[in-house]
């Protein structure tokens, strides 16, 4: 049953990705990228990662789409006619994919309970969290308590990105006004 749900969700996601590849109207591309994020959130739920699904639906499908729409409004709404088909990108992509698939052959099976990822420290975290923190949600406990400093580091990254965005497009309206005065 799980495999079936995964396959259906995956089929929908590949269709969405191919539609994004073919579409030339950027508005449709942006909307489809939101659809893609929501579908991936569904897949996260089937993979037991409910917190990740929340975040993906809110941040990935919500904020990303708003940012993309804003960019579209400030730039252009249509993609130029695609360049002539070139086999080189396709070749690069197929070779990279083949190498990655070769790499997965040595991996433990999906969902196996004795894979290295499950047998290392994960069990320790699950065992200690109720005693150490008293928080029922283990993901929250690790994020905010055990790995609080890493989350602080994440905040620093977001802050840096915000400063970068402000520096890049801070004076957008002012520059545009000056330009209009210059052309008149």
């Amino acid at each position: 049953m799980d495999v079936l749900i995964n396959l259906v969700l995956f089929g929908m996601m590949v269709t969405t990705a191919l539609a994004i590849l073919r579409m030339r109207r950027l508005f449709a591309v942006v909307m489809l990228s939101g659809v893609f994020s929501l579908l991936s959130a569904l897949l996260f739920v089937t993979l037991d990662a409910v917190d990740v699904a929340f975040t993906e639906a809110a941040v990935g499908a919500g904020i990303s789409t708003v940012l993309l729409l804003g960019t579209m409004a400030l730039t252009s709404r249509k993609e130029k006619m695609p360049r002539k088909f070139s086999p080189i990108p396709l070749l690069v992509v197929v070779v990279t994919g083949a190498v990655l698939i070769y790499g997965t052959l040595d991996m433990p099976s999906f969902g196996s309970a004795d894979s290295p990822a499950q047998t290392h420290v994960a069990a320790q975290y699950l065992e200690r969290t109720p005693k150490d923190t008293g928080v029922p949600n283990v993901v929250t406990a690790i994020l905010a308590s055990y790995r609080g400093y890493d989350t602080f580091g994440e905040t620093v990254v977001v802050f840096t990105a915000a400063v970068g965005v402000l520096i890049l497009i801070g004076g957008f309206a002012r520059r545009r006004d000056e330009e209009e005065e210059g052309t008149d």
């Binding site: 590849l21 969902g111 977001v158």
Partner: protein, 141 residues
Amino acid sequence: MTLEFILGHLNYWLFIILMMTGFYIVVSRGNYVKKIVGLNIFQVSVFMFYISIGKVQGGTAPIFPVDLNIDPNVVYSNPLPHVLILTAIVVGVATTALGLALVVRIREEYGSIEEDDILEIEQHIQAEENSEHGSAMGGRA
């Protein structure tokens, strides 16, 4: 290659196919907004790959009952990849925002967000500069 092996690894291959679709959008399309959408698809595929590593067959989400009365027979999935990917999603949006700001800036400077157009303009500027330097050297350069 048994059926069991294929079923156990099918998920990884599906994610790789999706990842490569995103990669193909990035390298084959010239529109910068579309390139960023392709990067997002690539990124989400990597997230799904990580999350699928943490899945335990027959497990459930790593959230205990509120009274913390934990039934030892319940299997919980690995919470560590979830924490890592939660951080990665937020950082991913931050980098997307930065990339989109660059796109807006490029459009302001060049009047286009198509790679072909911008390369053409760049070549033009380069040629003009070269001829300028050449005449400054008295046509000997």
